[in-house]
C-alpha cells in the first residue's frame, strides 16, 4: 500500500460527510473547512493541501511515472441549489476558467431551453455520478476525461448574462439589470475584440483544471444549436502549505504579491448581502434579486520587466511588503490594516499605491467594496518572445457602477499600469440561484 492510500482511506469517511462546501452566504464555508482540517490533524491537512493542487505526495519506491496524481478531494461537493449560485462566495479552489459564449437561440422558447439545459447539466456535473454509455456504436455521452463516474471535485459552474442578451432578440430589453452595460475601455486598456464581451459567461471553478475542462466540454456538447464559444481563459492559484491554527493566507499572483488580502469576508452573510447580492427594494428589477454583477478582466502582466524592478519599487507600487503582504505603514501580516488617516501625505504608503487607490478605506469608499475571485493565467509566448501571462480578474458586486467601475476609475493612471495591460473580459449579470429541483437558471428573468 502506498502512503497516500492509507491516508486516503482514513480520510474517506470525512470526504463523504464533511467535504460539502456550502455555497450560500449564510453558511460560512471556509471556517467549516478549516475546522475539518484542524480536527483531522496535521498529517491529513498537509496531504489535503497538496492533493488540492493534485500534486502527488512523496512517492513510494514502486511508484510509476504515469501513476495518476492522487487527491483526497475528488468528492468535494458544493451544493447546487440555493438562493444564490455557487462559485461566488464559495472558497476559491485551485483552478478557474471563464468561458464567454454567443447565444444562438432565436426566440424565447429556445432561450428557455438553453437555461433549462444548463441547469440540468450543471446539476449533474457539480454533484457527480455515472455517465453510462450503453451503445458502443454511438459516440459516448461525455468526454470521459474524468472516467465513467464523474467526480464533482469541488466544481462550481456559475452562469451570467451579458448586456447583449437584452437586445431585440428575446424582448428582454426592459428587463435588463440597471447597471449592466458592455465593458467600457479604460485608458490603459488594449482590448482585443476576440477576448471581450459575450451574451453569456460561464465561470468554472474546481480543484483541478481537468474538472473545469470536462464541464466545459459537456456543456458545449449539449448545447450545439444554442451556444457558440466566443473566448475562454483558464487560470490557477498556487496552493500553500496548510498551517493549522493560523488564519489562511491569500494566494500570490504572477507579480509575486498576495492578492485578496483585503477582500471582504465571504463567510459573513450580511456583509455579502450588502456588497455582493442584489437586494429587494432597490431600483433593480425584481427578477434580479439574489443575483450579482460579474466583472471579468484579462490583465496581461509584463513579468520580465516586473522581475527587473527593484523590490522597494515593487512594494511602493503595490502598497504592501512582498514577502509578508503586510501594509507599508507597519504590521506583520497581510491581515494588518493600514491606517491612511495617519499617513495623509503618503509617506509610508504612496498616495498612488495600488491598494490605496483601490480601497482608500474612507467612509465613502466603503460603498465601492467588491468581492474579488481572481486566478493567474499563463498562455504561452508573445511575438516578442515574452511570457504572455497575467491575471484572470473576476469580481462580484451588487452594483457594478459603485463596485468595479468606481474602483477601476480610481486606479486609472496608477504606477502599476507600466507593468500591466488589460486585454479582454466583459461585464455580466450572474443569475439568481436555482432554489430546488423544479427551479431553473433564468426562470425569474423569463417570467418577469
Amino acid at each position: 500500500m502506498r502512503p497516500c492510500e492509507k491516508a486516503c482511506e482514513e480520510a474517506h469517511p470525512m470526504n463523504e460527510t464533511k467535504n460539502d462546501i456550502a455555497p450560500d452566504a449564510g453558511q460560512p464555508a471556509s471556517p467549516h473547512r478549516r475546522r475539518m482540517l484542524g480536527a483531522a490533524g496535521v498529517a491529513f491537512a498537509g496531504l489535503a493541501a497538496s492533493a488540492r493542487a493534485s500534486a502527488a505526495p512523496a512517492a513510494s519506491p514502486d511508484a510509476q511515472v504515469t501513476d495518476a496524481p492522487q487527491s483526497t478531494h475528488t468528492q468535494d461537493r458544493v451544493p447546487f441549489h440555493g438562493r444564490h449560485q455557487a462559485g461566488i462566495v464559495t472558497p476559491r479552489p485551485a483552478a478557474g476558467m471563464v468561458a464567454s459564449f454567443y447565444v444562438l437561440a432565436e426566440n424565447r422558447a429556445d432561450l428557455e431551453r438553453l437555461f433549462r439545459t444548463l441547469t440540468e447539466r450543471i446539476a449533474f456535473l457539480t454533484q457527480g455520478g455515472l455517465q453510462a454509455d450503453p451503445d458502443p456504436k454511438l459516440p459516448p455521452a461525455g468526454s470521459g476525461i474524468l472516467g465513467p463516474v464523474v467526480q464533482p471535485d469541488g466544481l462550481t459552474v456559475t452562469v451570467s448574462v451579458g448586456a447583449s442578451l437584452f437586445d431585440e432578440r428575446f424582448g428582454l430589453a426592459a428587463k435588463k439589470p440597471k447597471r449592466l452595460s458592455p465593458m467600457q475601455s479604460h485608458p490603459n486598456d488594449a482590448l482585443d475584440a476576440a477576448l471581450c464581451h459575450g451574451d453569456l459567461s460561464i465561470q468554472f471553478c474546481a480543484n483541478t483544471p481537468d474538472t473545469n475542462i470536462h464541464a466545459l466540454r459537456d456543456i458545449i456538447k449539449n448545447t450545439p444549436d444554442l451556444l457558440v464559444l466566443h473566448w475562454k481563459q483558464e487560470g490557477s492559484v498556487p496552493p500553500i502549505p496548510a498551517v493549522p491554527g493560523q488564519p489562511a493566507e491569500s494566494a500570490r499572483n504572477f507579480l509575486g504579491f498576495r492578492d485578496g488580502s483585503a477582500n471582504p469576508d465571504s463567510a459573513d452573510g450580511r456583509l455579502m448581502d450588502r456588497i455582493v447580492w442584489v437586494q429587494p427594494g432597490g431600483d433593480q428589477p425584481d427578477w434580479a434579486v439574489g443575483g450579482s454583477y460579474q466583472a471579468v478582466r484579462i490583465i496581461r502582466n509584463f513579468v520580465e520587466r516586473w522581475d527587473r524592478t527593484p523590490l522597494q519599487e515593487q512594494e511602493a507600487i503595490m502598497g504592501r511588503r512582498k514577502a509578508t503582504g503586510a501594509p507599508l505603514d507597519g504590521g506583520r501580516t497581510e491581515h494588518d490594516v493600514p491606517d491612511y488617516a495617519k499617513d495623509a501625505e503618503g509617506k509610508a504608503t504612496p498616495m498612488d499605491a495600488h491598494i490605496r487607490l483601490a480601497n482608500p478605506r474612507t467612509r465613502a469608499s466603503d460603498a465601492n467594496l467588491i468581492l474579488r475571485r481572481p486566478f493567474n493565467y499563463s498562455n504561452g509566448v508573445t511575438k516578442s518572445g515574452q511570457l504572455e501571462m497575467g491575471l484572470l480578474f473576476i469580481c462580484y458586486q451588487a452594483d457594478l457602477e459603485k463596485g468595479f467601475v468606481a474602483v477601476q476609475r480610481r486606479l486609472d493612471g496608477e504606477p502599476l499600469e507600466e507593468y500591466i495591460k488589460p486585454i479582454g473580459g466583459g461585464f455580466f449579470f450572474t443569475l439568481p440561484g436555482v432554489r430546488d429541483e423544479r427551479d431553473w437558471l433564468g426562470r425569474t428573468l423569463m417570467a418577469a
Binding site: K137, P139, P224
Partner: protein, 278 residues
C-alpha cells in the same frame, strides 16, 4: 481523419462490404439495405470527380496561358466538385495534401517548396497577381486530379466511410473553415461551404429512407438544420450564380452557420451507430 486511420482503411477496404458490419445493438437496418444508397453515392462521386477533372483542365490551362483574370474566375467553381466529395477524396492522404493543403500545413508556409495545389495557385493569382512560377504547380495539380479520378474509380466504397462522411464534412467546416481560413487569399469560402453542405446533404438524402425508419425526429431535425444552412447561404448568392466574398458574411450569419454546423456535426456523429455500422 487521421493519417493512421486512413492507412488502416486503405489496407482493409479490400476486405469488402459485408465484413465491415458488426451486429449492432440497435441495427434494424440490414447491410443489404445500404447497397443501394452506397451505389448511388458512388455514382455521385464519379460524376463530381469527372467534372472536377474537366474543370481542372480548363483552370490549369488558363493558369498556364498566363490569363490571371480567367483563372481567378475559374478557381472557386472548379473547387466545388472537390469540396462535395471531400470525405472520400481525402481518403487518399497523399493526393489530398497535394491538391488541397493550405500554406499553414507547411512549415515554411507560402515559401515552402512543398506547398502546391489549389491554394498555391490561389496565392499566386490573388496575392502575387501573376502566374509566374505557377506552370509546374498547374501541371502537378492536373496530374493529381486525374490520379484521384483513377483511384476513386477503383475504390470499393466502405459504407461506414460514406455514412460517416456527412459528419466528417461538418467537422471540417466547424474546425477549419467557418473562420474563412481556407480560401484566405481569394475569400471564396462561401462557394466551399455550399459544396461541403451539398456533399453532406447528398449522403443524408440517400440514407433518409433508412434513417426515417430508425428515428424520424432525427431525420426531420437534420433536414431542418440543412434548410437553415442553405437558406442562409442563399442570401449571399450573386446574380451570376456565384457567391459574395467571405467578408460580406455578417457576424450574425457566421455565428448562425457555426451553430447549425456544430449541431449537424453532433447529430450526424450518431448516424453510423444508428445504422448499425462500425
Amino acid at each position: 481523419m487521421t493519417v493512421q486511420f486512413r492507412r488502416h482503411f486503405l489496407a482493409t477496404f479490400a476486405v469488402g462490404f459485408a465484413g465491415l458490419y458488426a451486429a449492432g445493438a440497435q441495427a434494424a437496418v440490414s447491410p443489404l439495405e445500404l447497397v443501394g444508397p452506397i451505389s448511388d453515392y458512388k455514382i455521385y462521386v464519379a460524376e463530381n470527380v469527372r467534372k472536377l477533372a474537366t474543370d481542372t483542365r480548363a483552370f490549369t490551362a488558363a493558369v498556364k496561358a498566363g490569363d490571371v483574370e480567367k483563372a481567378k474566375q475559374l478557381y472557386a467553381p472548379t473547387r466545388t466538385s472537390y469540396e462535395r466529395i471531400e470525405p472520400v477524396a481525402e481518403l487518399f492522404n497523399d493526393l489530398d495534401k497535394a491538391i488541397d493543403s493550405r500554406a499553414d500545413d507547411h512549415e515554411q508556409a507560402e515559401k515552402d517548396p512543398a506547398f502546391g495545389g489549389f491554394h498555391r495557385i490561389e496565392y499566386g493569382l490573388w496575392v502575387q497577381k501573376s502566374t509566374r512560377e505557377l506552370d509546374p504547380v498547374a501541371d502537378k495539380l492536373l496530374v493529381d486530379v486525374l490520379e484521384l479520378q483513377k483511384r476513386l474509380g477503383a475504390l470499393t466504397f466502405p459504407p461506414e466511410k460514406v455514412v460517416g462522411g456527412a459528419a466528417v464534412l461538418m467537422e471540417e467546416v466547424a474546425a477549419t473553415k467557418i473562420s474563412g481560413e481556407e480560401n484566405r487569399y481569394s475569400h471564396t469560402d462561401l462557394w466551399d461551404f455550399q459544396s461541403n453542405f451539398e456533399g453532406a446533404f447528398k449522403i443524408v438524402e440517400l440514407l433518409r429512407p433508412l434513417v426515417v425508419k430508425e428515428n424520424k425526429a432525427f431525420s426531420d431535425k437534420t433536414d431542418a438544420n440543412f434548410k437553415v444552412v442553405f437558406d442562409t447561404l442563399a442570401k449571399y448568392r450573386t446574380a451570376d450564380g456565384g457567391f459574395e466574398t467571405y467578408a460580406k458574411l455578417s457576424e450574425r450569419d457566421r455565428k448562425l452557420l457555426a451553430g447549425r454546423v456544430n449541431t449537424l456535426a453532433e447529430d450526424l456523429s450518431k448516424l453510423r451507430g444508428m445504422l448499425g455500422l462500425n
